[in-house]
Amino acid sequence: MSGTITTLPTFAPAAGRLEQAPSALEEPRWVRWLLTAAALAFLALFLFMPLAAVFAEALRKGWNAYLSAIVEPDALSAIRLTLLTAAIAVPLNLVFGVCAAWFIAKFEFRGKSLLITLIDLPFSVSPVISGLIFVLLFGAHGWLGPWLQEHDIRILFAVPGIVLATVFVTFPFIARELIPLMQSQGTEEEEAAIVLGASGWQTFRHVTLPNIKWGLLYGVILCNARAMGEFGAVSVVSGHIRGETNTMPLQVEILYNEYNFAAAFAVASLLALLALATLALKSYIEWRDARAPAPQHRQESRP
C-alpha cells in the first residue's frame, strides 16, 4: 500500500505547470495526493485486507494443514457438488441467454422492455427468498410436495433443489450481457447471410457467434462465479447433509461454525482464487473489447 502512495507524484509534466499557475482545472498536488490516499485507504479496509485475510487465515497452520483440509473427503465432495451444479446451471442459462438475446435483439414486438425487466427479476430478489420459493413449491407442505413424496422423488434437501436454486439465481447473467451487445450489432449481417442462402443455424454459427463470442464468454464467467459461490439460496434448499448436499460455500459455513477456522478458510481460499481468476479473465476480455464501447459492459456486471 505505502509503495503505491509514495510513487504518486509521477504526474504528467503538464500538470505540474498547471499547478504553478493556480487553476480551477486541476486540484493542487497535495489535494490529489490526499484524495488518492483516502480512496486507497478505504479500498484497503474494505477490499484488499479482507482478501488478504482469507489467504493468511488459510495458511495460518502451514501448508500441510491447508492441503489436508482441502483433500478431506467432505471437502472433496463439496467441491464435486459445486462443480456439478455449475456444470448444469451455466449451460442451461447459456442456451437461454442466447435464445433470449436473439429473440429480443433480432425482432420487434410489443412488451420487449417488460420482458427485459422480467429477465432481470432474479437479481432484485434476496438470495434467501430465491431459496424459499423452491421450498414453497417442493417442500413437504408445498404445492408439489405430496405428489413428489408419493413417487419418492427428492428435490428439496437434495441435488436437484440445489441446482434449481442456482439456475434461478444465475438466470439473468448471460442474457443481460448478450441483449445489449446483440442489439447494438443490428440484423444486417444476419439478413445478408439468409438472403445468400444460409440456414438459420449456419447464420448463427458463422455470422452471429463470432461477433458475440467475447460477450458470451464474459457472461459465462460471471454466471459461473455466481453459480459456484451462491450461498443464501442454496443454504435454504440444501438441508446441509454433510458429504451429500453441501456445496463449497456451505462447507465453509459448517467448518466455520464448528470453530475449525483454518479448514474453513482453506476451502474459502479456493473460492477466493476462483474469484480472482474470474476478475483476471474479465479484465482480459474488457481489454480485448476496448475497441467496442466499454461502459456498456461495466454496468452489466451487476449481480
Partner: protein
C-alpha cells in the same frame, strides 16, 4: 402465457427475414415462466391464502420490526457510505494516475466475484476483537464485529462496486469543456465540482445508491457471520426468514418474504426510472 408458433407470425410479418422468432421466443418465455415466474408466484399465492390479520401479525411483530430497522437502516448507511467513497474511488480512478491503478480498478469488482460466505468470514476475521483491524478499533473502544456496526461493514463491502461502476463511465464521458468554461468564468475547483461535475454525475450517483441499497437490504451470506445475530439487536430480515423456515413456520416466513419482495420491486422500479433519467441526461449532453 401463450407460446407462439413460427408460421402464424410469419404471415403477419411478411417482411421478417431472420428465422427463429417462434423458436427463440417460445423457449425464452417457457424457460422464464418455468424458472422465474411460476416459482416467484408461489410467494404471492401462498400469501393470499393467509388471513389479513395473520399477515399483519406475522409482518409487524416486534422482532420482525427490529429486523426491518436493522436491514433497511444499515443498508441505508452502507449505501450512503458507498456514495461518498464510491465517488471518491471513481474520481481517483478516472482522473489521476498512480502505479497499480489497473490492478485496483480490476479489484473493485471483487465483491461481485467473491462468494458472499467467503466475504463474510473474511470480514469477521478482520473486524473481530482479535483481528487485524478489530484489535486496533478495540483499543479505541469501538466494537464492530457482532454488533449492528458489523452489519454496516459487510453491507458496505457488498455494495462497493455499484456506485463506482455507475459513476465511472459518466466521469469518463463528461465533457471537460464545461469545467474549463466554469474555470474561465472564475470558479474555483471546489465550485466547479459542486456546480458542474456533481450535477452531471447526480443521476448515476442516485442509481448507484439505489442499486447498493437494494443489494444490501436483501444480503444474507456476508452479513450473518459478522452480525452476531442477536434477536432484536443484530438480526437481519433474511436471517429471520431462514429461522422461521427452520421452525417450520412457512406462513410467517412467506409473509416476511412478501414484504421484502414488494420493497425489492419498488426499488427495481426506482432504479429503472433513474437509469432512464441517466440515459436521457447522457443523450441531451451528447
Amino acid at each position: 402465457m401463450q407460446i407462439a408458433l413460427p408460421f402464424s407470425f410469419r404471415d403477419r410479418h411478411p417482411g421478417r427475414v431472420l428465422p427463429g422468432f417462434g423458436l427463440t421466443g417460445g423457449f425464452t418465455l417457457f424457460y422464464l415462466c418455468l424458472i422465474v415466474l411460476i416459482p416467484l408466484s408461489a410467494i404471492f399465492l401462498n400469501t393470499f391464502t393467509m388471513s389479513w390479520e395473520g399477515f399483519v401479525k406475522a409482518t409487524t411483530s416486534e422482532r420482525v420490526m427490529a429486523s426491518y430497522r436493522l436491514s433497511f437502516g444499515a443498508a441505508l448507511i452502507a449505501a450512503a457510505l458507498n456514495v461518498v467513497f464510491g465517488t471518491l474511488v471513481a474520481w481517483v480512478l478516472e482522473r489521476y494516475e498512480f502505479t497499480g491503478k489497473k490492478l485496483v480498478d480490476a479489484l473493485v469488482d471483487l465483491p461481485f466475484a467473491l462468494p458472499t460466505a467467503v466475504a463474510g468470514i473474511a470480514l469477521t476475521a478482520l473486524y473481530a476483537p482479535n483481528g487485524w483491524i478489530g484489535s486496533q478499533l478495540e483499543s479505541l473502544g469501538l466494537k464492530v464485529a457482532f454488533t449492528p456496526l458489523g452489519v454496516v461493514v459487510a453491507m458496505t463491502f457488498i455494495g462497493l462496486p455499484f456506485v463506482v461502476r455507475t459513476v465511472q463511465p459518466v466521469l469518463q464521458e463528461a465533457d471537460r469543456e464545461f469545467e474549463e468554461a466554469a474555470a474561465s468564468l472564475g470558479a474555483n475547483r471546489l465550485q466547479v465540482f459542486l456546480r458542474v461535475i456533481l450535477p452531471a454525475i447526480l443521476p448515476a450517483l442516485l442509481t448507484g445508491f439505489a442499486l447498493a441499497f437494494a443489494r444490501a437490504s436483501g444480503e444474507y451470506g456476508s452479513v450473518i457471520f459478522i452480525a452476531g445475530n442477536m434477536p432484536m439487536v443484530s438480526e437481519i430480515t433474511p436471517l429471520l426468514i431462514v429461522t422461521q423456515l427452520e421452525q417450520y413456520d412457512y406462513a410467517g416466513a412467506t409473509a416476511i418474504a412478501m414484504v421484502m419482495l414488494l420493497t425489492a420491486f419498488i426499488m427495481l422500479l426506482a432504479i429503472n426510472l433513474l437509469q432512464a433519467w441517466t440515459r436521457r441526461r447522457g443523450l441531451a449532453e451528447a
